[in-house]
């Protein structure tokens, strides 16, 4: 029985690696096509997207998976890579823009129309993304779900996928470079980002202080080390996201020609 569960987890994780590689390959093909058509696609976007894929593969690699099973810190490192660092890198690669440019115009229009429908707009709202991403973490660590993820391999694999998808959705809804005409304004996103940083930090402290996740066979010292990793590692990721966010914010404003234009340029937005 244990053997079978192990096998399912292995197959599931391998599947995620294959999916990641397929994603990277499609992206690279898309970039090559842009180059062939003599359209400009920044080299750094390809690099940063590749970095994101590499981080995913690293998190799915056998040593990491083993570490994640043996030690809560390992699991936390996986969470940071899958749910925070990799999504920021992937989001900076602007895969959505590349997709829209690569498909026929009619298909691109259909995708844009689909993105404008109410359910998708609700799903991609920063508040929803925050709930799915950080809220999901609260559910995972403060309820028996974490313990369940060890006994049920399907839950485990689904959880890893959820980390990546929710992390991507969140960082994209805050600072994604793809066109998003229905996204709320910068102020709303700043407030959501503020809440997210605080909520992630507070969860780390709750785990540290009250010994969550409970009943999963972790020692208090192990939980404390993992919670600290979550707190400081998460901070670094959120700081990166904040830097991207403010870069986008400043770039949206008109770049003034002389210093005396600073104030007026700022006031205009």
């Amino acid at each position: 029985m244990i053997h079978q569960a192990h096998l399912i987890a292995l197959v599931g994780t391998s599947l995620l690696v294959v999916l990641t590689l397929a994603l990277w390959f499609s992206y690279a093909l898309g970039v090559r096509r842009q180059r062939r058509q003599r359209k400009n696609w920044p080299c750094w976007r390809l690099l940063v997207f590749s970095l994101g894929c590499a981080l995913l593969v690293l998190a799915f690699s056998p040593p990491m998976v083993e570490w994640g099973h043996a030690d809560l810190s390992g699991h936390m490192a996986q969470h940071l890579l899958l749910g925070m660092f990799a999504p920021i890198a992937l989001m900076l690669g602007a895969p959505g823009t590349l997709l829209l440019r690569s498909v026929p115009v009619a298909t691109a229009r259909r995708i844009v129309d689909f993105a404008a429908t109410l359910p998708v707009r609700c799903l991609s709202h920063p508040c929803t993304a925050l709930l799915l991403d950080i809220g999901g973490l609260y559910v995972l660590y403060l309820t028996p779900l974490y313990q369940l993820s060890f006994s049920a391999p399907v839950v485990h694999v689904w959880l890893q996928l959820h980390f990546v998808l929710a992390g991507y959705l969140f960082s994209w809804s805050i600072a994604g470079p793809d066109p998003a005409p229905h996204r709320p304004g910068m102020r709303v996103r700043l407030v959501v980002l503020f809440v997210a940083i605080a909520a992630h930090g507070v969860l780390g402290k709750l785990m540290y202080a009250y010994g969550f996740p409970r009943d999963a066979g972790h020692l208090i010292a192990e939980i404390e080390a993992a919670a600290e990793l979550m707190y400081y590692g998460g901070d670094l990721a959120e700081l990166l996201l904040a830097v991207v966010f403010f870069t986008v914010w400043y770039r949206r404003r008109r770049m003034p020609d002389s210093a005396s234009d600073w104030q007026t340029a700022d006031r205009r937005t």
């Binding site: 700043l190 605080a198 402290k205 003034p256």
Partner: protein
């Protein structure tokens, strides 16, 4: 290349953000991590204190990022005014230090500087340093305004 005008107010704003963020970071790195005088969470504090601490920390991170990018943007346009910039950095740092020393430590009692008998010595040094930073920053800022000359 002709000299472009500098922007004193934007320089001050950017570095006030930076000062607050930097001082908070120094507090976290030096006192929480290296010296471990007070910890990132002192067990007996209630949940409200924990939450307020989290919000404070979140604001600090955002200020660091916002200040950093504001400053980079200013300096790329050669619009940094040195006096207000230094003044702002010290004012921000001092304001945070004093805020942390009075509101966090005493009012909310999130944590103390160090858990020893003669705590008042540490509190005095902590808040005194904050006041000193604030005062020096304020003087530098006023002076740069009065002289109207910007060392660039």
């Amino acid at each position: 290349m002709d000299a472009k005008p500098v922007d004193a107010r934007a320089s001050l704003t950017a570095t006030v953000f930076l000062g607050i963020g930097l001082m908070a970071a120094v507090d976290e790195i030096v006192f929480h991590q290296i010296l471990a005088w007070h910890h990132f969470f002192d067990r007996s504090t209630p949940a409200v204190a924990l939450l307020s601490d989290g919000l404070l920390h979140s604001a600090e991170l955002l200020m660091l990022a916002a200040g950093f990018l504001l400053y980079v943007r200013l300096s790329r346009h050669h619009a940094v005014s040195r006096g207000p910039a230094w003044g702002g950095l010290l004012i921000g740092a001092g304001a945070f230090q004093l805020f942390d020393g009075t509101v966090d430590h005493k009012l909310l009692r999130l944590h103390q500087v160090r858990y020893v008998d003669n705590l008042w010595v540490y509190d005095l040094a902590w808040n005194g340093f904050g006041v000193l930073l604030l005062a020096v920053g304020f003087v530098i800022w006023r002076r740069s305004l009065r002289s109207g000359v910007d060392g660039r």
